[in-house]
Amino acid sequence: MANKIYKKRILLISVMVLTLSIALLGCSSESVDNSNESSTSESENMITFAWPRDVGALNPHVYNPNQLFAQSMVYEPLVSYQDGGELKGHLAETWEISEDGTEYVFNLRQGVKFSDGTSFNAEIVKKNFDTILTNVDLHSWLGFIPKIAQTEVVDEYTFKLTLKESYYPTIQELAVVRPVRFLGEAGFPEDGDTSNGIAKPVGTGPWVLDEYKVDEYAIFKRNDHYWGELPNAEKIQVKVIPDAETRVLAFEKGDLDLIYGEGVISLDAFKQLESTENYGTSVSEPVATRQLVMNTNKEQLSDERVRQALHYGFNKEAMVEGVTSGLEEKADYILPPNFPYTSSVDVTTVDYNVEKANQLLEEAGWKLPEGKNVREKDGKPLEFELMYDSAESIQKLMAETLQSEWAGLGVKLNIVGVELTTQVERFKANEFDMNFFSNYGAPYDPHTFVNIVATEGFGFREAISSYPNKDELLNQIAEVKQTTDENERQQLYTTILGSLQEQGAIVPISYIKKIAIYQKNVSNFTFPANRDEHPFTGISVNE
């Protein structure tokens, strides 16, 4: 008996010891790796910054989970998007467009090498385009891709793209981060189809992936073969920190040199860090507009006077200031004026005016019955539902502000928080009264925005169905993409954007901006003009 108990005890103890030793073994073996890693990294001129997600496989031709900024560090476009919407040659030095707007001939930059030392030429450009075109459906959201008829190598440094029909935004769309950037020969998988994965990330960009541990960090080093001016910093370390508060704490401790992006930390945290005056901070030019979309398919909202009344009926400036601590700017236009063709849009800007709002509602026949606080017409109450992304605190706060502001006008606003995907789905299915939306930013707009407005099944086209000039607008949108005349294009955009806004179904609220906060030893931080590009080219860190 005693022997039996003894045996059992031995078993119990050994289970415990095993548990203990596994735990300790785990720690000790890991620590060896780490000592090597930290010794290599600390001695160099390296900038450490945090990103919420792993950088991904760095495949230039696919989307999730590849992070745009990281793709833009390794791969380069033919054309780059600069401040104010200027398009400059990058891997293509110059280009010629045929009279009818269907043939694009690119003169490629000579002497460009991939990070493995191989040459960049028309052959590899064609190879990249062809692999993209094998999955044309996946990339058809980018307007020019489904329009490509032919890709051609003219000579070693001349590449020709032929379109099925004229499409002016082609050059602008070539500046996007994915899928039209170039992978070196050694990066292609055996079957040549990059949609299933790449062999290794070989690009022409200023950075090369040096060290990588999934979900933990990625270290990029300078590409010694880079054709352009070499970056100041020798290395960029991207730490994966999914939680915004932890990013702030890591930054305060000095583990991070830089926090950068849109919504990467809370606005309160940004303001708090800024107020310490221990750090450098920057706020970018507008990258997009936060808009409120009203569905004119809904009976109450089909009346322009009601839409205008709602626009006049809230203090936009105070709301933006209050909700975003002044980090976003009150918007007067549905697209920021620093985008191509958007600076000369002529519309009546709307300022807070409760009196006018009440007057418009009265005119539209919405009266406030005695003893009630919601306006009615033919026995129906003036009531709407506003849908917002429950994960986005700014949308929620704005929805709450609108609810209380409009209550003062006798308008009942029900607000409902949904998941992002549900928000998109309901918008597309036209199952909403009001919704928040924001445009795509550079280098996608304005053409992508007007395109979405005109395409069936994306919500906008259905939402503006009560516009009397709807058909004319759709024609103009179709025309603007095809016209080869610069002046005509500008005129068309001015008319389209002006008309869309003037009729009140799309209400501009604020201009979204990027933030950056950095330690005092970081200098020359500038925001890229392209919303999705990385900001590391000129940045340096003083030892």
Binding site: I241, T246, L249
Partner: protein, 314 residues
């Protein structure tokens, strides 16, 4: 004893099947379309054709029953499918991240045991003493503070202010301390109270009085008899909590940027990466079932009455 073990293992199969059915139905009852989620997270406006093509690629165009049976057949072959997002096998994705989670779980389990056994035991044998009050306070804190908040507090004091530990990441034993303690805190609260109550209960048992009348030394009675029997409910708790720990690690992994599979799961939920969600839930169910089985077996070794009881009524 053999029959008992056999019976326990057999009952696992229908429970596991039920878990697969529940998981599958819950995921597919969600109103969010995974194809739509795929494009939303990539910031692409998808056309109907693009969505249709993705649905076909994901096999979502087939009837639900066929999808379920196919998934079940694959699971039996340890094939959890391909992640919608990364295009890699889910099993590979989970297993590369699992070691980090196990490390965290074992670390916190160890801390929980090392702290709660002495405190709970002493609190039990010295009722209303200082240590008893301390244990009550500890349990109160552990049970009421949410893990993520505790995590932030730890980071703020021990990493940012005192610079004793790193804020995030893995590598050294120092990286493991704060997340493990955060994860262990609610367990400490639970086990300390559990052990204390169990010790108090055992002190009332006739065997203690009998041992005392036999003149056995108090220390021997406490250490050899009371503690050994009193610890039994705690071991049950441990087994139940092993699964909890693995899943509870999700929040701690996010706060401390721990590269485990809990964090990966959170991302999968946002991306509606169905094969990953399915794989994770089934793995968690498996771990729950197996850890409960192991606990029952250990219980039986400690207290043979458990298996004997079964035999009595046969």
């Amino acid at each position: 004893m053999g029959t008992y073990v056999f019976k326990r293992i057999i009952t696992i199969i229908p429970i596991f099947l039920l878990a697969t059915l529940l998981t599958f139905s819950m995921i597919h009852l969600s109103p969010v379309d995974p194809a739509e989620a795929y494009f939303t997270t990539a910031h692409i406006q998808a056309t109907d054709e693009m969505l249709e093509q993705k649905r076909q690629e994901f096999g979502l165009d087939q009837p639900l029953l066929i999808q379920y049976v196919n998934a079940l057949i694959k699971i039996c072959q340890f094939d959890f499918g391909i992640s919608y997002v990364t295009n890699k096998p889910v099993w590979e994705e989970i297993t590369t991240r699992l070691p980090a989670t196990i490390q965290l779980t074992l670390g916190s389990l160890l801390i929980a045991i090392l702290v709660s056994v002495p405190i709970g035991f002493l609190a039990g044998i010295r009722k209303n003493s200082v240590i008893d009050h301390f244990s009550r306070f500890l349990s109160f804190i552990g049970a009421s503070i949410p893990s993520f908040w505790l995590g932030y507090l730890f980071i703020f004091f021990f990493s940012v202010k005192l610079d004793l530990f790193p804020v995030e990441g893995t590598g050294t034993w120092k990286h493991l301390i704060l997340p493990s303690v955060t994860l262990a805190f609610p367990l400490i609260a639970l086990y300390t109270r559990l052990l204390r109550a169990s010790v108090l209960e055992n002190l009332q048992e006739p065997y203690v009085l009998f041992a005392r009348t036999r003149g056995i030394h108090e220390r021997v009675i406490m250490g050899k008899h009371v503690l050994r029997i009193a610890i039994s409910p705690m071991i049950t708790g441990l087994g139940m909590n092993l699964g909890n720990l693995l899943t509870g690690a999700i929040i701690v992994e996010v706060v401390f940027s721990w590269p485990g599979f809990g964090r990966y799961f959170i991302e999968a939920i946002f991306n509606r990466d169905v094969p990953v969600i399915q794989g994770y839930v089934l793995l968690a169910a498996g771990i729950f079932l197996i850890s409960n089985l192991i606990v029952d077996l250990i219980q039986m070794l400690i207290d043979p009455r458990i298996s004997r009881k079964g035999r009595q009524y046969q």
